[in-house]
């Protein structure tokens, strides 16, 4: 197990550099001339030639791809993420954005696991029953409403009409302010979690080892809780691993609606203003989150199913 983790960590370093190079190259190829980049920073106001000249110089916009990437990497190795085209240190922006988005994602994932997995298990056991059908319809409904509709709706009803939650979270929100956006974010994964769990549970109920366990006369709770659930969770856990990274990046709309200056918002801003270093900084960390989440998932496999070994 230890050797497996070390090997994976070393792979992560390679993946990290590969991913940053790729993202940097994509941003670079999409970037217009220096004058265009600077114009997109300021909107529709005219830019003076002197301003273009000085900003071009400051951000090395007139240099080739490898030189620009070299400058960026040199800084990164000294733990300096560089400055965004607006002049703010990207390190500061990352430090400010990540904690908020992580809290948001935690609320979302916990909510989705709690309700999604529970509903899935119950539906799987009582297949074709009323609860099963109701869950199927509800999750179908939830899956078909895009977040761009769901988020403002939730904000309108629970934030403005009922005043249960603050309508927006703002820059430095407490857990309570993040609760509603977290639920909105989590509800997208909830449907998938519950359906994955339901199918998996339903299938495992027919497995030989479940029949054996029943035949041995084990209590029903133990058969379901230990034998069925443990094995059924493997596909769900795999999906959660992928989903965590997705939740962080996918928070663009939720963060926008609830005014949370997190990762999604910064990515959106960086792409809009062709701010290469800003996008690469955030994407690099997203890559790390993905990698770590998937490492944890792999370790979880071994916990859930002792037959899976890493040597």
């Amino acid at each position: 197990m230890f050797r497996f983790i070390v090997r994976r960590l070393l792979q992560m370093v390679l993946t990290f550099f590969g991913a940053t190079l790729l993202v940097y190259a994509l941003m670079f190829s999409n970037q217009g001339s220096p004058a265009q980049v600077i114009q997109s920073l300021v909107g529709e106001r005219p830019v003076t030639p002197a301003q273009v000249a000085v900003l071009t110089e400051r951000y090395h916009l007139n240099e080739g791809f490898w030189t620009q990437y070299g400058y960026y990497m040199k800084g990164l190795l000294q733990l300096d993420f560089g400055t965004s085209l607006t002049g703010r240190p990207i390190g500061d922006m990352i430090a400010q954005a990540w904690p908020v988005t992580i809290r948001l994602a935690v609320i979302g994932v916990l909510f989705a696991i709690l309700f999604g997995v529970t509903a899935g298990v119950v539906a799987g056991i009582r297949r074709a029953g009323v609860f099963d059908n109701a869950t199927l319809i509800l999750t179908l409904l939830l899956i078909s409403i895009p977040v761009i509709v769901l988020a403002p709706l939730a904000q309108y009803f629970f934030g403005i009409k009922l005043s249960w939650f603050p309508p927006t979270a703002g820059g430095d929100p407490d857990w309570w302010a993040l609760f509603l956006p977290g639920l909105v974010l989590g509800s997208l994964s909830l449907a998938t979690y519950s359906r994955l769990t339901r199918t998996s549970v339903a299938e495992n109920l027919r497995a030989d080892y479940v029949r054996t366990a029943r035949a041995k006369g084990l209590p029903r709770s133990r058969v379901i809780g230990v034998h069925v659930l443990r094995n059924s969770l493997i596909p769900v856990v795999t999906y959660i691993g992928i989903d965590i990274g997705g939740l962080m990046a996918g928070a663009i709309i939720t963060e926008g609606v609830f005014n949370i200056p997190g990762v999604g918002f910064n990515l959106f801003r960086g792409i809009r203003t062709e701010d290469g270093p800003l996008v690469v900084g955030f994407v690099s960390l997203l890559v790390i989150v993905f990698l770590v989440a998937n490492l944890i998932v792999d370790i979880m496999y071994a916990v859930l199913d002792p037959r899976i070994r890493y040597e």
Partner: protein, 545 residues
């Protein structure tokens, strides 16, 4: 000042509100005001807070709290002195600025001539890359502070250091008096001084002569009615509180919390829940429901935006003024405003905005009056192109009205017409500058200072900073120049109006719409006014207690 405001549709019904917010001194306003309350105002994340680098509305709104301008504008949009005692000139070239005594920066420093001279030299110096640098263009010695890259922006060579570091046109007389010498006479220079870029900076701002201290921007020190509370919390908010030693007109609230929003719709949600006091621009999406939602808290006031469609006059098919006029005549402006902007903006039939002195209604006359039959006859007679195209930037919410305009041209002129989106404004400009045939293209303008000159000069003179359509008429250039050097405002206006009459003949652009501020406030504040620059008047706003 262009940018954010341009992208938002603004609203009004017909004749409302000549002056900014005459609706506010409502006798029905109940409740006394609480002079210690903190009110909250929606802004977007400012790009910068150094005055000479602040050219968008959010930054300007914050600076309006922290700084006191030399001049402000009264309800007729004429400049009056605030931090200045007097601003005078005998020949419109050499201007003497006398400062009021008793103004201090928030760190206790006295505001002196040097506070202005140093800040302005910094702003004008090319290598500092300040967004508002062009405001000093008119001052003597500006050219020597700039340098151009010898091999263009793409080349490897660096631009050489400019010849000078300081404007020769700025001279200190004594601690409270300084003079500004312009390169050419300009009768309305006093109005120019009302812009954000002309605020002073304290000695504490400087690391060394001409070098700004690192981090000063996040903890900026001004000379205005409010001082910064804490530091600028990026993407979150900026808080200011009353500055007790301010000698000018005292604000009626204890402080202002500028809350930063990424989306106007989320600010609007907070406004409805009374979590936020002022939304400066009601988002277009909710424009139709906002009047019901907010009732008499839904407000409108004039703004300076001017939207138009420009012709690439250098292209042969648009070279004839008759063709350009016929196209203008084929557009039903009122219909588009009703259908697309829900009756919010106003139809434009002049080349300058109604918010400046010297504006005349319907200068464009026949060419802007919708008449499909006449338009078609004139278009055919002049041999207009069989295919038209209107280019616009896709990120600015222009698709709807451009498509509507195209449809009208199709029906009324019997031509083909397509609206073509460029991803961003910068892409559109690049194409236009390289004379790529993009057909007609949309443009907009927000004024920097209230003067006809600020519309005519940059947009239509041969070397105008925003003249992207190659329009050039020596007679027009001469009249604008004569206006700028005219001995009095009235004489200047006569020249400007004569210049505008030339535009009516030549029709280099089609005037389409004038903007309006459409804003709303919570139940917790009253006397909310928004000026021509989309800024809340912080001296007027009161909290209802």
């Amino acid at each position: 000042m262009r940018g954010k405001t341009l992208k938002m549709a603004v609203a009004t019904t017909a004749i409302t509100l000549i002056a900014t917010g005459c609706s506010s001194s409502d006798p029905d306003d109940s409740g006394s005001s609480n002079s210690n309350a903190v009110v909250s105002i929606e802004i977007a994340e400012p790009q910068h807070l150094i005055p000479s680098n602040t050219t968008e509305t959010s930054g300007a709104q914050v600076l309006a709290a922290l700084f006191s301008p030399l001049v402000d504008f009264d309800k007729d949009n004429k400049p009056y002195e605030v931090a200045a005692e007097s601003i005078t000139s005998t020949d419109n070239t050499l201007w003497t600025v006398k400062l009021k005594d008793g103004y201090t920066f928030h760190n206790g420093e006295k505001v002196t001539s040097d506070s202005y001279i140093n800040a302005w030299n910094y702003g004008a110096y090319g290598p500092n890359g300040q967004g508002g640098a062009y405001f000093w263009e008119k001052v003597d010695g500006y050219a020597d502070l700039q340098s151009t890259d010898p091999d263009g922006e793409e080349g490897p060579q660096k631009a050489p250091e400019p010849k000078a570091k300081k404007l020769t046109g700025l001279a200190k007389v004594d601690d409270l008096t300084f003079t500004v010498k312009l390169a050419a006479p300009f009768s309305e220079f006093k109005a120019v001084l009302g812009y954000t870029s002309f605020y002073p900076l304290p000695a504490a701002a400087w690391q060394s002569d001409g070098v700004l201290k690192e981090g000063f921007e996040d903890a900026i020190v001004g000379n205005g009615p409010f001082k910064l509370k804490g530091a600028w919390q990026h993407d979150q908010g900026i808080e200011v509180e009353k500055y007790d030693a301010y000698p000018g007109e005292k604000p009626k609230v204890g402080g202002v919390n500028f809350k930063i929003y990424q989306q106007l719709t989320s600010a609007y949600a907070d406004l409805q829940a009374d979590n936020l006091d002022v939304v400066k621009t009601i988002p277009t999406e909710v424009l139709s429901s906002a009047q019901t939602d907010l009732g008499d808290r839904f407000k409108q006031s004039p703004a300076s935006t001017f939207q138009f469609v420009a012709f690439p006059t250098f292209q042969p098919e648009f070279a004839k003024a008759e063709v350009r006029k016929a196209i203008s005549q084929a557009i039903d402006r009122d219909e588009i405003i009703k259908a697309v902007f829900k009756g919010s903006q106003k139809s434009a039939r002049s080349f300058v905005s109604p918010v400046v002195a010297g504006y005349r209604d319907n200068t464009c006359a026949d060419a802007c009056v919708f008449d499909a039959a006449k338009a078609k006859a004139a278009y055919t007679a002049a041999g207009g192109p069989a295919k038209l195209q209107i280019s616009y930037n896709g990120d600015g919410g222009h698709k709807e009205w451009v498509d509507a305009t195209c449809n009208q041209l199709k029906t009324n002129l019997g031509v083909e017409c397509v609206g073509t989106a460029e991803p961003k404004f910068a892409d559109l400009l690049t194409k236009v500058e390289s004379k790529t045939p993009v057909g007609m293209f949309r443009m907009g303008w927000v004024m920097d200072y209230p003067s006809m000159e600020n519309y005519l000069g940059p947009l239509y003179s041969t070397n105008g900073s925003s003249n992207y359509y190659g329009y050039s008429n020596p007679a027009f250039d001469a009249l604008v120049k004569e206006g700028a050097s005219a001995p009095s405002l009235d004489e200047a206006i006569k020249k400007y109006q004569a210049a505008e009459d030339i535009l009516v003949q030549d029709m280099p652009v089609i005037p389409l719409r004038f903007g309006q501020n459409t804003f709303g406030h919570s139940n917790k504040v009253k006397n909310v006014e928004i000026d021509l620059f989309n800024r809340v008047n912080l001296l007027k706003i009161e909290a209802v207690s």
